[in-house]
């Protein structure tokens, strides 16, 4: 898995490429946790290049969403489509996260 970060205005966009499983999700978890530790952080996670997400990946996302709530931060997901979207639906996660249709929309929504 590759993580790439980019600042767009006051929003940090995290692009995930590859697989999010029990081996790679701790890395994402640590990174999101560090970013969401700051008060009123604005984070967009872009899944458009994600190939696979397992239960370990969903656990990390749930934990990140909880931390965002606690710190009045904003966490918005985008690029959730195709196979990955099916898995979000399968696990009952579509309604649990703020999901935007596009990256630009997600940045606007987070900002």
């Amino acid at each position: 898995m590759d993580l790439r970060e980019e600042q767009v205005g006051g929003v940090t966009v995290v692009q995930i490429k590859g697989r999010l499983d029990s081996t790679t999700s701790p890395t994402l978890g640590e990174r999101l946790s560090a970013m969401l530790g700051a008060a009123k952080a604005r984070i967009v996670v872009d899944f458009s290049q994600l190939e696979y997400i397992s239960s370990a990946g969903f656990r990390v996302l749930l934990q990140a969403a909880k931390r965002a709530d606690q710190n009045a931060a904003k966490l918005v997901l985008c690029g959730v489509s195709g196979k990955v979207r099916q898995l979000f639906e399968l696990g009952g996660f579509l309604d649990l996260f703020a999901i935007s249709a596009s990256r630009d929309e997600a940045i606007t929504s987070a900002g």
């Binding site: 697989r19 499983d21 029990s22 696979y52 397992s54 370990a56 656990r59 898995l87 399968l90 009952g92």
Partner: protein
């Protein structure tokens, strides 16, 4: 069945009466292009003009019956779709042979035999499914589209002495095709629904304005009575054992074409289409065979479901089976009004050619979509690629096949027949060596998730499995191994076994260790976040939901999970 967004009226919908009526007329307009086939056959047998008109009238009644039979939604007869028959090129060559050797009596007798062969083939289609996978159905549709396009091009580029190639001919073709395309692409509502009918009327008007109709056309039209009851008088029936083979090949081609057309109708009507419904296909072939038997009995030539009309329905988005009844009504009216039938028969080649090219575009694209719905490995690539080349060879180098022995001529006389036979034979050949069960051993200490997914992907391609099923199996395999290794701490290697037939994909994962829990209820978000156990239960819940069926066994310390996917 979920209606796709581009479809205006699905098979079960009831369009307004005006839309139903005009859609029927539009379909008949396109169908009438194929009236040339029975005319050619009758002329080959040396029939009088009266007999030719009689055959055209009778075949319209047969086509009306065929459209109604095909639309039956239940029971052993009918596909349930708007998938009406037309006089077909598939029976043209054998019928011309029969006409030369034994006159119309032999044509009618052999047509009955061919229809019965189609009905017999329909009964066995379910068992033949592994030999007739979707990529071959798609290829058949593409080849039919190419044949339709070839006839359209020939009609446009070699129109004959009655309408020589020239500026008038080219302008009428341009007006006809341009009107159809413009209305289909840039218009909405009624104009899009009737783009072919409006295009054909524009073509007729352009021909009349530019002086494209001849005095002979006017005389032919004038010679026919306004109202006449179709006569059932005909010279009887005869049978020739020598003609069984060419008619059998034509019956196989007609069966495959109907199967392809019905598959396309299923796909057009269902946004979530996954696999061919064999009951509907079998019923469709029975209806097609019955229509051909009826044609032989009453004194007409063989018919077959019309791919170009499926293309028309796809282009306009009107797929309601009620249109089939409108088609039938229009045909019956035409059968009793010979002037109208002859007016359609006299369609200028530039109008007919343009309409054929319009329909062929949709047919070819539908065929490609069906072909690529499966994963294609090297075997499938050769089945499709070589068969496509074989079909093209006949069109590019027809002289090379003329020296083949007499018995082989039915097989090499048409690009459609050779392409289909080639695909069936190559598919049979390449099934050898494709193992239906494959296994992989994985060491818990060296899990390579990409290699595991690669294993199921490669097998899926070799089996020609559907992409969506392989995607689901691939996730279940990767997620189950991840959860087992993390939570069940297996002793020794895990064994993965995948087995496949046309209807089922089963993936088994077995290991020595406690079974993985596959709960029916999703763990709460707190359970997932706060413990590894919650995360594993989420994995088990997702695994259970993604497969069509799961089972878990634990015997003698060894656990086995079976994921079953319907195919």
């Amino acid at each position: 069945m979920r209606k796709p967004p581009n479809i205006v009226y699905g098979v079960e919908d009831r369009p307004p009466p005006g839309v139903t009526a005009f859609s029927g007329i539009q379909h008949v307009g396109l169908m009438s292009i194929n009236l040339v086939y029975p005319v050619l056959i009758a002329r080959e047998a040396g029939s009088s003009p009266e007999t030719v008109v009689q055959i055209v009238s009778l075949i319209m009644i047969v086509l009306a019956l065929g459209a109604i039979l095909q639309a039956f939604p239940r029971g052993p007869i009918g596909s349930g779709f708007l998938c009406q028959p037309v006089p077909t090129a598939a029976y043209l060559l054998p019928s011309l042979l029969a006409a030369r050797e034994g006159g119309l009596a032999l044509v009618f007798g052999m047509t009955i035999a061919a229809g019965l062969m189609e009905i017999a083939l329909a009964r066995g289609l379910r068992f033949l499914r592994p030999w007739f996978p979707p990529e071959i159905a798609g290829l058949v549709i593409v080849l039919i589209g190419m044949t339709t396009a070839a006839v359209g091009l020939r009609t446009l580029l070699e129109p004959g002495t009655a309408a020589p190639l020239g500026p008038t001919h080219a302008l009428v073709a341009f007006v006809t095709l341009g009107t159809m395309i413009a209305l289909n692409v840039w218009s909405k509502g009624v104009l899009r629904l009737f783009c072919v009918l409006v295009g054909m009327i524009a073509g007729y008007l352009a021909t009349a304005i530019l002086g494209g109709f001849t005095g002979v056309d006017a005389m032919t039209l004038g010679a026919e009575p306004f109202l006449a009851i179709p006569s059932l008088r005909h010279p009887g029936w005869s049978f020739s054992p020598e003609l069984v083979l060419p008619f059998a090949v034509a019956a196989v081609a007609a069966t495959l074409k109907t199967a392809g057309n019905v598959t396309t109708c299923q796909k057009l009507n269902d946004a979530d289409w996954k696999r061919a419904d064999m009951r509907s296909i079998s019923g469709g072939v029975v209806a097609d065979g019955l229509a051909t038997v009826t044609a032989g009995v009453v004194g007409a030539s063989g018919v077959n479901s019309a791919t170009m009309n499926v293309g028309l329905a796809s282009a306009t988005g009107v797929l309601s089976r009620r249109v089939a009844y409108s088609v039938a009504g229009t045909l019956v009216v035409l059968a009793f009004f010979p002037k109208l039938g002859i007016a359609l028969y006299l369609m200028p080649p530039s109008v007919a050619g343009a309409a054929l090219l319009f329909a062929a575009s949709f047919i070819i694209v539908n065929g490609f979509e069906i072909m690529t719905s499966r994963l294609l490995d090297a075997r499938k690539t050769f089945v499709i690629g070589l068969s496509f080349i074989a079909a093209l060879a006949i069109d590019f180098y027809p002289h090379a096949f003329r020296n083949f022995p007499e018995w082989a001529q039915p097989f090499v006389g048409s690009s459609l027949v050779l392409g289909i036979l080639s695909a069936l034979l190559l598919n049979m050949l390449f099934r050898f060596g494709v193992r239906t069960t494959r296994s992989l051993v994985v060491e818990p200490g060296s899990i390579d998730a990409v290699a595991i997914e690669g294993f199921i992907e490669a097998q899926g391609a070799a089996w020609g499995a559907r992409r969506d099923v392989i995607d689901r199996a691939s996730f279940n395999l990767a997620q189950s191994i991840e959860a087992i290794v993390e939570g069940c701490h297996p002793e020794g290697a895990l064994t993965i076994e995948a087995s496949f037939d046309e209807f089922n994909l089963d993936v088994r994962v077995s290991y020595v260790g406690p079974p993985l829990e596959l709960p029916e209820k999703r763990p709460t978000n707190e359970e997932i976040m706060e413990s590894d156990e919650g995360q594993r239960r989420l994995a088990g819940f997702m695994l259970r939901r993604y497969a069509d069926r799961v089972s878990s066994t634990h015997r003698g310390g060894r656990s086995t999970i079976l994921f079953h996917f319907d195919h």
